[in-house]
């Protein structure tokens, strides 16, 4: 009895302290919902997102005059169901967003650790490369890459990863520089650990928090960039349902007042990015005291 109380108390206290710090319930719920929708898109979507019938083009949402229950959120210029496309679009954004953040994170964290811990010419080379890369305009560079390698989801992930790794490298290197002066790292050196072991066992676990915080904040940037690339026609290739692509298609019906084709996909992007940013801000305060100033 006593034992179980002792075991639950810290958890309870922890939870309540999370709450008092303004745990971002709504953003987490939105992200959770988006992930859920992305995973079960096949079961949730009422129609095939890529097939429409031209006889049922530009149907308004169900609550507007002329809307039908067949298309709850209306249909687009090819008569495809907007709701189904939004649902499958969540899958594209989630998959591309998370994998691109992961690619950028692994690359940037790895280089940041190498650069910070090894120092010397390795540090010089990696940091000059990072500086040069940071100087390039990210969106223009991503567009160029996309134009060269051609549009596909896989390529988008590689492009976003290779454009955004620099932000991790900078921050992680800075942290490693201070970590390597700490006693536990010095002890490991005295104990005869190899550089490789120290970086893997002692440095990496200590920078993971920062990497996670950065990753959450990057998720928003990556999702917007993916949407922009798709909007410009160098991102996810049609007829795949990506939110940015839907906005590009929605432009065609905009002057006729078919608002749902423009407003709804944008709302999805906005909710996802807002949630990621709010969660990232909260995680930053919670996990990483050093980043609080950022």
């Amino acid at each position: 009895m006593n034992g179980s109380r002792a075991a639950t108390l810290p958890v309870a206290r922890r939870l309540s302290s999370l709450r008092s710090d303004g745990f971002p319930t709504i953003p987490v719920a939105i992200l959770g919902l988006l992930i859920f929708v992305a995973v079960f898109a096949n079961a949730l979507a009422p129609h095939d997102p890529e097939v429409g019938s031209l006889g049922e083009r530009f149907r308004p949402p169900v609550w507007q005059q002329g809307g039908s229950e067949k298309f709850l959120l209306g249909s687009d210029h090819l008569g495809r169901d907007v709701l189904s496309r939004l649902i499958f679009g969540a899958r594209v954004s989630i998959v591309v967003g998370f994998t691109a953040v992961l690619v950028a994170g692994v690359l940037g964290t790895g280089l940041g650790i190498l650069s910070g811990y090894l120092g010397g010419w390795v540090d010089q080379v990696i940091m000059r490369l990072t500086d040069a890369w940071l100087a390039l305009p990210a969106l223009t560079f991503a567009i160029f890459l996309a134009a060269v390698v051609g549009p596909s989801e896989m390529n988008i992930v590689i492009i976003l990863g290779s454009v955004y790794w620099t932000r991790y490298a900078r921050v992680i290197r800075g942290e490693v520089l201070s970590l390597k002066e700490r006693d536990f790292v010095r002890l490991a050196i005295v104990a005869g650990c190899s550089k490789r072991t120290i970086m893997k066992r002692h440095i990496l676990p200590n920078v993971l928090n920062s990497a996670i915080v950065l990753g959450t904040l990057m998720l928003g940037v990556v999702v917007v960039t993916e949407a922009a690339l798709s909007f410009l026609g160098v991102g996810v290739p049609p007829p795949k349902p990506a939110w940015g692509l839907m906005l590009a298609d929605g432009k065609k019906g905009m002057m006729a007042g078919y608002w749902w084709l423009t407003v709804l996909p944008g709302c999805c992007i906005m909710f996802m990015v807002l949630s990621a940013n709010l969660l990232g801000d909260w995680l930053r305060v919670k996990l990483d005291p050093q980043l609080r100033q950022l």
Partner: protein, 306 residues
């Protein structure tokens, strides 16, 4: 000072070399560059001619030398679509881009600086929270979606503003707003934190102790110094805007460089895409170099610290 400038020029030069190498290698490693450099639907003989012209059958470092020397001579190739030298095209679009960027910048500063100051002076009060929400929205809404919503509301429903094109001041309003929106939020955030820094400093305390009225302390003593980092960022952001504008220009059919880049992609006009990216990249590198040097001139602590 001289050493600092030399060092910065050196870094900028490295960035430019890296930019050219990256673009050169990417085009050649991701497939046959002839396919990109030749017009769609060209014959086998044309492809051979292009291969000869660009020396694509020669070793790679010879090719790179050729690539760089034509860059330095300002020869960036011919557009397939417009049938003119790409450099000419770029320069003819540059004024439109700069005009849009200047308008968006003006908008972002007019919104960002006052709200940032208010948020810093009234820190943790209602104004500050409102400012935080504004900053969050500014940083989270994609500019092209803001642009589309503006068209939907002001052009389609209200019919007040033209939805696309350029020429009059009315054409400039919506693109400048859509583009400046994100930067207004960024400038507000920076004004707030820089103002908070300055307000906590000794000389502001002294000014208050002297008994100066609060409006004078903030308006004259704090404001001036708090503005330095904001204006530095604004200088760099102006070129960033020219780059980011590609989506906004596409939405509003604004005839700037971003639109040129978009056309280059849409018409598979590779020389245009390549040249735009190179020139935009070079512009960012050069302007950040100038801003850094100017900053060091204004604030001696920067050059002494390194």
């Amino acid at each position: 000072m001289k050493r600092y400038i030399l060092k910065r020029v050196g870094f900028a030069a490295i960035s430019l070399v890296l930019l050219s190498v990256t673009i050169f290698l990417l085009v050649r490693l991701t497939g046959d560059p002839t396919v990109l450099l030749v017009e769609p639907g060209a014959s086998q003989a044309d492809m051979e001619a292009i291969r000869k012209q660009f020396g694509l059958d020669r070793p790679i470092w010879v090719q790179y030398g050729h690539f760089v020397s034509s860059l330095v001579r300002g020869d960036l190739g011919h557009s397939f679509y417009y049938r003119t030298p790409v450099l000419e095209l770029y320069l003819s679009r540059l004024p439109s881009s700069l005009m849009l960027a200047a308008a968006a910048m003006a908008f972002s500063l007019v919104i960002g600086i006052p709200t940032g100051i208010i948020a810093a002076v009234r820190v943790n009060q209602w104004w500050d929270s409102a400012g935080k929400v504004f900053a969050l929205l500014g940083l989270s809404l994609p500019s092209f979606w803001v642009g589309l919503l503006l068209i939907l509301f002001f052009s389609v429903y209200l019919g007040w503003l033209p939805s696309s094109g350029s020429g009059t001041a009315a054409h400039l309003v919506m693109p400048a707003f859509a583009l400046g929106w994100y930067f207004a939020a960024a400038h507000m955030r920076l004004t707030r934190s820089s103002m908070l820094d300055v307000l906590g400093s000794e000389y502001v305390k002294l000014a208050r102790l002297k008994g100066l009225p609060e409006a004078l302390v903030i308006g004259k003593h704090a404001f001036k110094n708090a503005l330095i980092p904001v204006l530095t960022l604004a200088g760099i952001n102006l070129v960033i805007m020219v780059n980011v504008a590609v989506v906004v220009e596409t939405v509003f059919a604004w005839p700037g460089i971003g639109r040129l880049l978009y056309e280059g992609i849409a018409f598979r006009d590779f020389p245009v895409v390549q040249a735009t990216v190179i020139l935009n990249g070079a512009m960012v590198v050069v302007v950040s170099l100038l801003v850094d040097i100017l900053y060091a001139v204004i604030d001696p602590r920067i050059r002494l610290a390194r």
